[in-house]
C-alpha cells in the first residue's frame, strides 16, 4: 500500500494518471466495465477502508498538504486549441452559410419574439442568443443572404465566441477520454492532436453554428460517464461518483437540447449503462438493497434529470419569448392568444362560452397545408366541373387562409328564428344541435349527398340556396367537443376543439387540404367526410374570434361583423400544454422545398466525396469551406476497419479458446471499441433512414468518435503486434511521420478553413484533391 491516497491535488483530475503512463499498463488495472469485479478492485477498496478506519484525530497527525500537479501537455493542448479556434474569429465580417439561418433566431431571441424552428430544440438557439446578448446585439440585422456584410451593430466576435470555445474544449476532453479509457499518455495526446488538427471541426467551431456545441456536450457526457464508471470501482456513492453521474445526465440532456442528434449518443450511453448495471446485478457481493440503490441513482441521473432539464429548456424558451411573431400562424389559437400582441390583441376580452346567437370565426385545428378559417362567399359551385360531374350549384364553402369578414358565422338555435344572444346567454354544450349561418350572406351551412368538387368520395359542403331543384335543406349539425372533460362541457372560445357532425348523413365537416381551381379562388376545399375514420385533426375546428351578436337587422349585423371585438378575459395555457404543442409542432413541421445545392447522401460522407462552400469573398479568391483533413478521415476509416477486423478475429479465436491478448487488454479493447465504434455507428447509421435534407456537417459527431479510435488502434498495434524493440521503434517512427503529414495536410487546407489568406486560382486548383469537390475559382 505504498500508493499515496488520493488527495486534493487529484481533483485537478488529470495529472495523477498522466505521469504514470508507462506504469499503468503493467499494473493490474481493470479496464473492464464497472461492476465487473476486476482485480483492480481489491487494492483501492482495501486502501480506502484503511483510511476510513483512521480515527478522527488521525487527520491531524499529518500536515495538511496541498499539492498541485499540472499536466503541462494538456494545458499546452488547450491553449493551442483555443488559439486555433479563436484566431481571427471576427473575420470574415459577413454572413457565412447557416449563420443566415441561426442568425434570424438570434435576432428573434434578442427581441423576445416567439418562433418555431423545426430543426431542433431551443437550447442551441438560446446559447447562440446568449452570445449576442453578451455582445450587446440589438437584433437589428436582416439575415437574408449568405455573404451579406455585417453592419456595425452586430457583435460578430461574441456571437461566434461560444461555439468556438466549445470547439476548443473538445481537445482536452478528447485527451481525458482516452486517459479514462486507460490508454497511455501518448495515445491521449494523439487523440487530442487529431481533434486539434481536423479542419472541418475548426471550420464548424469558428462560426455561429451549433455542431461544435453539440460535440462538446457529447464528449462531456462520454467523459463524465467514464469518470463515473471508474469511480464506481473505487467508491460508489461518494461525492465524485455522484458528481460525474449527474454530470453525465446533464451533459446528455444539453446535447439533446442543442440538436436532436444528441439523442444518439444519449441512447448509446444508456445502453452502455444498462450493460454495466446488468453486470452489477450479477455481483453477488452487493446486497439487494444496494443494487436497488444503484438502479435508482442511475434512473434519477440518466432519465429523470435529463427529462427535467429538457423541459426546463422549453420553459426558458417560452418564458423568454413572449411576444407574437412570424410563426404564430402555425400554432393553435389558444397558443397564439397566450402571446403578447398578435391574436391576443384581437381575442382579448372575448366572451368565453359560445351561446346561441354568437358570432364566431372557425379555424381548422390541423393548420395544414396552411392555417385557415371556415369561409363562404357569394359565388356558387360551377354547375359542371371540368371532368363533367355536376354540382349542387349552391354557394361555395371553403377554408380561407386570411382573415376576412366572410369568415364570420352565427350559431343559431334550430328551434327559433333569433340571431341574437338572449339575456342571459344560453351556452351550447357537447351534443347540442345547431345551425351555422354565414354572417354576410345569411345562408345556412349545409351538406348533402353530392360529391365534393375535388374529393369525390366525400360530400359537398355548401351554403344552402333553394333553386327549386328538389334538394331539401339539410343544415343541422351536432356539436361534439373532442377535448371535453365531461359530456356536459360548454363550447368555449379558443379552448374547445369541436367536430361538426351532420345530423342527416353523419358526415363530418372536414378540411380536405386540396386547393380549389380558379372558380374557387384557390381557396381550400371543405368537405363532409362520410367514412369517419376516427380522429383526425382536419375534422376539428375551434372558435377563434367570438362576440355575442346584438343586432337583429341584417344591415346592422354587417356593421357589427366588421367591427373589432371588445370585452376582456385573459386565457392562459399551462406550461405543459404549451410545451406539448410546441414539441409536437417541432417534430411534425416540414419544410416543403428541401433541395439544396450542397446537400449530400450519407454514403458520400465516409470518404468525404463532398464539401460545402460556406463563404466566398466578393472580390478575392478567399473562401471558407467545410472540408476535412483528408488524411485524418482516411486514417479514421482505416482504424475502424482495422478495429472491426481485429475484433472479429479475436472474438472467433477466443471462442475456440485461443487467447491472443491478455484478458484485461481484451476487455479494454472491447470497451474502447464499443464506445468509439459504437459512437460512430450510432451517430452515423441512423441517417440512412432519414428522409430530410442532409449535409456533410451532420457527420461531424460521428467523425469525432471515429477519430478517437485512431490512437486506440495505434496503441494496440504498438503493444501487441510489434514484438521486438526494433519493430516498436520503427512503428513509432512511422507514427511520427504520419503525424507530421497530418499537420502538413492541416496547413495545406487551412486557407479554406480560416478563409485567409486568399489563394490564387492555381493554388485553389491544387487543393482540389478530389474530382467531386466543389472549389470556387473566379474567372477574370
Amino acid at each position: 500500500m505504498s500508493h499515496p491516497p488520493p488527495r486534493a491535488g487529484k481533483e485537478g483530475g488529470l495529472p495523477a494518471q498522466a505521469p504514470a503512463g508507462q506504469v499503468q499498463r503493467r499494473a493490474p488495472l481493470c479496464p473492464a466495465p464497472c461492476g465487473r469485479p476486476g482485480p483492480a478492485q481489491s487494492w483501492p477498496r482495501g486502501q480506502r477502508r484503511a483510511g476510513r478506519r483512521m480515527p478522527v484525530l488521525g487527520a491531524l497527525k499529518r500536515p495538511v498538504l496541498l499539492r498541485a500537479e499540472i499536466n503541462v501537455s494538456l494545458v499546452a493542448l488547450a491553449v493551442a486549441a483555443v488559439a486555433s479556434r479563436l484566431w481571427g474569429l471576427a473575420g470574415p465580417r459577413a454572413v457565412v452559410f447557416d449563420e443566415v439561418y441561426y442568425g434570424q433566431f438570434v435576432s428573434l431571441y434578442v427581441k423576445r419574439i416567439f418562433f418555431v424552428d423545426d430543426s431542433g430544440p431551443p437550447l442551441g438557439h438560446a446559447l447562440l442568443a446568449l452570445g449576442g446578448y453578451l455582445g450587446g446585439f440589438d437584433g437589428n440585422f436582416l439575415w437574408n443572404r449568405i455573404g451579406a456584410e455585417y453592419t456595425m451593430n452586430v457583435p460578430v466576435w461574441s456571437l461566434r465566441l461560444l461555439p468556438a470555445v466549445a470547439g476548443a474544449l473538445c481537445v482536452p476532453l478528447a485527451y481525458q477520454i482516452l486517459v479514462e479509457l486507460r490508454f497511455s499518455h501518448c495515445a491521449a495526446l494523439g487523440a487530442a492532436l487529431l481533434i486539434l488538427l481536423e479542419n472541418s471541426l475548426i471550420t464548424q467551431s469558428r462560426l455561429m453554428l451549433l455542431e461544435s456545441i453539440l460535440i462538446f456536450f457529447i464528449l462531456l457526457a462520454v467523459l463524465s460517464y467514464l469518470k463515473f464508471c471508474n469511480s464506481q470501482k473505487r467508491s460508489p456513492f461518494s461525492a465524485t461518483w455522484w458528481f460525474w453521474l449527474l454530470l453525465t445526465g446533464v451533459a446528455c440532456s444539453c446535447a439533446v437540447g442543442v440538436k436532436y442528434m444528441g439523442l444518439f449518443t444519449y441512447v448509446l450511453l444508456l445502453v452502455i449503462a444498462g450493460i454495466h448495471f446488468w453486470h452489477l446485478i450479477g455481483d453477488q457481493a452487493l446486497s439487494k438493497v444496494s443494487v436497488l440503490c444503484h438502479l435508482l441513482a442511475r434512473g434519477l441521473a440518466l432519465v429523470v434529470i435529463p427529462v427535467a432539464m429538457y423541459l426546463s429548456f422549453f420553459y426558458l424558451h417560452l418564458t423568454l419569448l413572449y411576444r407574437s411573431g412570424p410563426h404564430d400562424q402555425i400554432m393553435t389559437s389558444a397558443f397564439q392568444a397566450s402571446l403578447e400582441g398578435g391574436l391576443a390583441r384581437i381575442t382579448q376580452g372575448q366572451p368565453l362560452e359560445i351561446a346561441y346567437g354568437s358570432q364566431i370565426t372557425l379555424r381548422n385545428v390541423l393548420g395544414k397545408p396552411m392555417p385557415c378559417w371556415l369561409h363562404s362567399h357569394k359565388n356558387t359551385y360551377p354547375i359542371r366541373y371540368e371532368n363533367g360531374r355536376g354540382s349542387s350549384h349552391q354557394q361555395q364553402v371553403t377554408c380561407y387562409p386570411f382573415k376576412d369578414v366572410n369568415n364570420w358565422w352565427i350559431v343559431k338555435d334550430p328551434g327559433t328564428q333569433q340571431l341574437v344572444v338572449s339575456n342571459p346567454p344560453r351556452p351550447i354544450r357537447h351534443g347540442h344541435i345547431v345551425q351555422l349561418v354565414h354572417g354576410i350572406t345569411t345562408r345556412y351551412l349545409n351538406t348533402h349527398d353530392v360529391a365534393a368538387p375535388l374529393s369525390p368520395h366525400a360530400q359537398e359542403v355548401s351554403c344552402y340556396i333553394d333553386y327549386n331543384i328538389s334538394m331539401p335543406a339539410q343544415n343541422l349539425w351536432r356539436v361534439e367537443i373532442v377535448n371535453r372533460e365531461s359530456d356536459a362541457d360548454v363550447w368555449k372560445t379558443i379552448l374547445s376543439e369541436v367536430r361538426f357532425v351532420h345530423v342527416n348523413t353523419s358526415a363530418m365537416l372536414k378540411l380536405s387540404g386540396v386547393a380549389l381551381p380558379d372558380w374557387g379562388y384557390r381557396q381550400l376545399e371543405v368537405v363532409g367526410e362520410k367514412l369517419s375514420k376516427g380522429y383526425h385533426q382536419s375534422m376539428l375546428w375551434n372558435v377563434e374570434e367570438h362576440r355575442y351578436g346584438k343586432s337583429q337587422e341584417q344591415k346592422e349585423r354587417e356593421v357589427e361583423l366588421h367591427s373589432p371585438t371588445q370585452i376582456d378575459i385573459s386565457k392562459n395555457l399551462s406550461f405543459m400544454a404549451k410545451f406539448t404543442e410546441l414539441q409536437w409542432k417541432i417534430l411534425t413541421l416540414k419544410n416543403e422545398d428541401t433541395e439544396h445545392k450542397y446537400s449530400s447522401s450519407p454514403l458520400a460522407w465516409i470518404t468525404m466525396d463532398t464539401n460545402i462552400v460556406y463563404w466566398l469573398h466578393p472580390a478575392s479568391g478567399a473562401q471558407i469551406h467545410l472540408i476535412g483533413n483528408m488524411l485524418i478521415w482516411t486514417s479514421a476509416n482505416a482504424a475502424t476497419l482495422a478495429y472491426l477486423c481485429l475484433f472479429l478475429w479475436y472474438l472467433l479465436r477466443r471462442r475456440r479458446r485461443i487467447c491472443d491478448v491478455p484478458e484485461d487488454v481484451w476487455w479494454a479493447w472491447v470497451f474502447a471499441g464499443g464506445l468509439c465504434v459504437g459512437g460512430w455507428a450510432a451517430n452515423y447509421l441512423p441517417f440512412f433512414l432519414m428522409e430530410k435534407t442532409l449535409f456533410l456537417y451532420h457527420y461531424l459527431p460521428a467523425l469525432t468518435f471515429q477519430i478517437l479510435l485512431i490512437p486506440v488502434v495505434l496503441q494496440h498495434l504498438n503493444d501487441h503486434f510489434c514484438r521486438s524493440q526494433l519493430s516498436k521503434h520503427m512503428f513509432q517512427a512511422l507514427i511520427v511521420a504520419w503525424f507530421s503529414s497530418v499537420y502538413l495536410t492541416y496547413r495545406t487546407f487551412s486557407p479554406l478553413t480560416y478563409g485567409e489568406p486568399p489563394l490564387s486560382p492555381a493554388e485553389l486548383r491544387a487543393l482540389r484533391w478530389k474530382e467531386s469537390w466543389d472549389i470556387l475559382i473566379r474567372k477574370h
Binding site: 465487473r36 469485479p37 476486476g38 482485480p39 481489491s42 446488468w278 453486470h279 446485478i281 450479477g282 455481483d283 453477488q284 457481493a285 446486497s287 439487494k288 390541423l366 395544414k368 397545408p369 372536414k510 378540411l511 380536405s512 387540404g513 381551381p517 367514412l531 375514420k533 376516427g534 383526425h536 382536419s538 422545398d593 433541395e595 439544396h596 445545392k597 472467433l652 477466443r654 471462442r655 475456440r656 479458446r657 487467447c659 491478448v661 491478455p662 484478458e663 484485461d664 487488454v665 481484451w666 433512414l689 428522409e691
Partner: protein, 841 residues
Amino acid sequence: MYAAAPATGAAQPESHPPPLRGFQAAGDVRSGQLQLSSVCTRCSPLMRGVSRRHAMSPGTHPPACPATPSPVMTCSMDSVSRGAVQEGARPGPEVGLRMPRALRGGQAEPGPRCGALRQRESRVPAEGQSRCPDSAPALAALGDVGGGWAALGFVTVLGFASRFYRLPQPPHVCWDETHFGKMGSYYINRTFFFDVHPPLGKMLIGLAGYLSGYDGTFPFQKPGDRYEQHNYIGMRGFCAFLGSCLVPFVYLTVLELSKSLPAALLSAFILIFDTGCITLSQYILLDPILMFFIMAAVLSMVKYNSCADRPFSLPWWFWLSLTGVNLAGAMGVKFVGLFVVILVGLNTISDLWDLLGDLSLSLIMFGKHLLARVLCLILLPLSLYMALFAVHFAILNKSGPGDGFYSSAFQSRLIGNNLHNVSIPEHLAYGSVITMKNLRMAGGYLHSHWHLYPEGVGARQQQVTAYLHKDLNNLWIIKKYDSNTDHLDPSCTVEFVRHGDIIRLEHKETSRNLHSHQHEAPLTRKHFQVTGYGINGTGDSNDFWRIEVVGRKSGKLIKVLRSQIRLTHVATGCLLGSSGKTLPKWGWEQVEVTCTPYLKENPSSLWNIEDHINPKLPNISLDVLKPSFTEILLESHMVMIRGNSGLKPKENEVTSKPWHWPINYQGLRFSGINETDYRVYLLGNPVVWWLNLVTIGVYFLMTTSTAVAMKRGVQQMTEHRELFQVLLQGGGQIMLGWLLHYLPFFMMGRVLYFHHYFPAMLFSSMLTGITWDTLLKFCTGHLLSSTMAWKVYTCGVLTLVLLIVYSFYLFHPLSYGMVGPMASDPNSPMAGLRWLESWEF
C-alpha cells in the same frame, strides 16, 4: 376439444406419478432456497457470504472474490470449468447440474466470454427433453404419443372448416381482390403489369385460377362487381387452403418449442377462432400466401433446430433446405418476407456461434456446418428467388399496362410494345431524329408544342414539358451547335455524336431550339425555366447543350437505348431534368421540365434515347440491345422499391398507424357499407387480440424477473428451470419474431394498413400459448399440492379456450358476413358488441 379430452384422460394415469416425484424432489430444494433468501434479506455482507457458501455445494469458491490471477489462467480456467460442466451435465442428477451454475454465478457472469454458458444452456434442455416422460407434467408427455397426432388432426380439421365455411360469399369482388385477382388474370393472359410486390403470390393466384378453370376474362374493375359466371372459387379456395395450413403450422411450432400439448392447443385455438385471420384467409389476397410461407419457414427452422443433435442426417437436411425454400417463398410474395429472413439469419448465427464454441467439434466439421447453411439458407433461396423472376418474365411477354414504368430497354422485350423487334440505328449521328425518355420512374418523353408559357411564368416562350405518351411532338433533331446544315442531305457524310460534344436540339414540329435561361421554372422555383426558342433553328447561345454519357470518357459514341445521357446547358451549367411535378391546365397537365443548377446524379436529370430515325445509317435489330436477365432483375427491383416508397400518405388523409394494430383499434371494410349490403369487416377477435396484448406485457415481466433472479444466482427447482428455458429460448425466438415483424413498420414512410400486422399477430398468438402455459404451470406448481395443481392448471387452460370460443361465437358475423342494421343501431344483433367507437360494422 372433445376429441382431445379422452386422449388426455387416457394418458393421465400412467404419467401422473412423475410430477409427484418431481414436486417432492423440488421440495427440499425449495426449503434450501427459502432458507437462503430469508437470510439474505437482512444479514450483513459477511454473513451472507457464509450462508451462501453453506447453501452451495462444498468446494465452490465464494463468489465475492473473483481474483482471476492472470489472463492466461482465466482462459485455462474456463476450459477447466467447462470440462466440469460437461462431466456434470451428462449424468444429469440435480446436484451435478446445479454445481456449475453456482460456479458460474461466482464468476459474476462472464457474459459472452467463453461461450460455454450458452452452449450448456442449449444442450441441457435437449437432453432433458429426451428424458421428459419421467419429469415433465403429464400432458407434455402426450406430445410424443398418438394423442399429439389426434390433436393435430383435430385442429387441422377445425382450421379448414373455419376457413372454408361460406367461402363463396359474397359473390362479388371484395377489397384488394380487385388488384390481386386482376393480376392473376394478367398471368393467365400473359400481359405485362407493374406491382410493388415480387411476383410469386400473384403467380400462384394465377396458377390456381388457371387450374380451376378461370379463363382470365373477368375485369376485376372495382370492389362490389359481381363475379356472375366466372369461376373465382378456385382462387379463393387456394388462398383459404394456405390460410388453413397456418393452424397446424402454429400447433406444431409451439409443440416443438414448448413440448407442451396445452400450449400448442391454446395457440392453435387462438388462430382458428380469430375472426381477423379467417377473414384475411378467405379472399384472393397475398396475405394468406405470405403468412403461409412465413409460418412454414418458422416451423422448419424450429424443426431443424431440434434436429441439431443429429447433424447431417436426412431429417436435418430436409428441414434445413425446407427452411431455405420457404424463405424464398416468403420473399417472393412480399418484401415483408425479409423479416423472417432476418429471424432465421439471427437464429443461424447464434447456432453457428454455439457450434464454434464447441471445442469437441473440429474446425473442418465447423466448416461443413457453415457450408451447409450457406448452401441451404443463402444459395438455395437466392437461386429460387431468381428462378421466380425468370418464370415471371417468361410468362409475361406481352405488352400491357405496366410498360411505362420501365426503361426503354426493358420495354423492347415485350410483344406488342412499339420497341419490340424494332430495328433502328445503334449510334447517334448529327441530323438524327430522336425521342428522349427521362430515366425517373414514369418519367415521360421530352416534349414541346406550339403553346407558350402563360403571362407571369418565366419568359413568354414556347413550353417544353415531359409527356408520358408517344406523340409526334416528342421528336427532336440533333444538330451541331454552330451550323444549321441539313445532315440528312445525301452529300453530307455521316458524323456521329460523341460524348462531350456541344449540340443543339431542334424540335421537329415547331423548329424551335431547346433553350434555357436564368428565369425561374414554373413550379420548382429554384430551377431554371426550359423553353423552345428561335425561328427555324436559329436561336442564340442559350440553345447550346453539352451531351454526356454517364460513366464514359470523352470521344465515345452514344448508343441508342443503352446510354444514359446528361444534357448540360453550356451558358448556365445547369442540367436538363424533369421535376416530376404536374403542370397546371395551361401546361395540359404534363410534367414540368426544368434545368437544375444542382449537379446531382439522379434519374430525374438523366435521359436515354428511345426512337432514332436516320435513313443514312444502317438499322440493326434491337435484339442485340436486349438487356440481360440480371439487368432486368435489378431494374424491376429498383422500380418496385421506388414504387413502394412512392406510396406516401397524402396530407389530411386519415391513415392507419402501427400503434393501432395490436390494440385492434380499427378494422378494414372488406365489403359493403350500407345496411342492406352484405358486410364483411376485417377485425381481429377482440378477446384474442387483447389477450395477446396482455401476454406480451406478462411475458416481459416474467422473463425480466427470471433473468434477474438467475443473474442474482437464486436457486431454482429443476422443473422451474425447465419452464424458464422454454420461456426464454422458445418464447424468446417467438418474441424476436414478433418484434421483427412489427417494429420496422414504425420506421416506414409508406401508407400502412391494418392487415400488415397479421404476420406479427401469428407470432403473438404463439407467444400467448407458450406464456400462459408456463405461467399456469409455474403458479400452480408453486402454490398447491400436485393433484390440485393439476386440476387448477387444466381449468385455467380450459377457461382460456372457452373464452376464445365464446368470443368467436359473438364476433363470427364479422368474417362470415352480416346483413341488416349497422351495429350502432340497437336493433342489430351486433349492437352490444361495438366495444370501441372506432369499429365500423
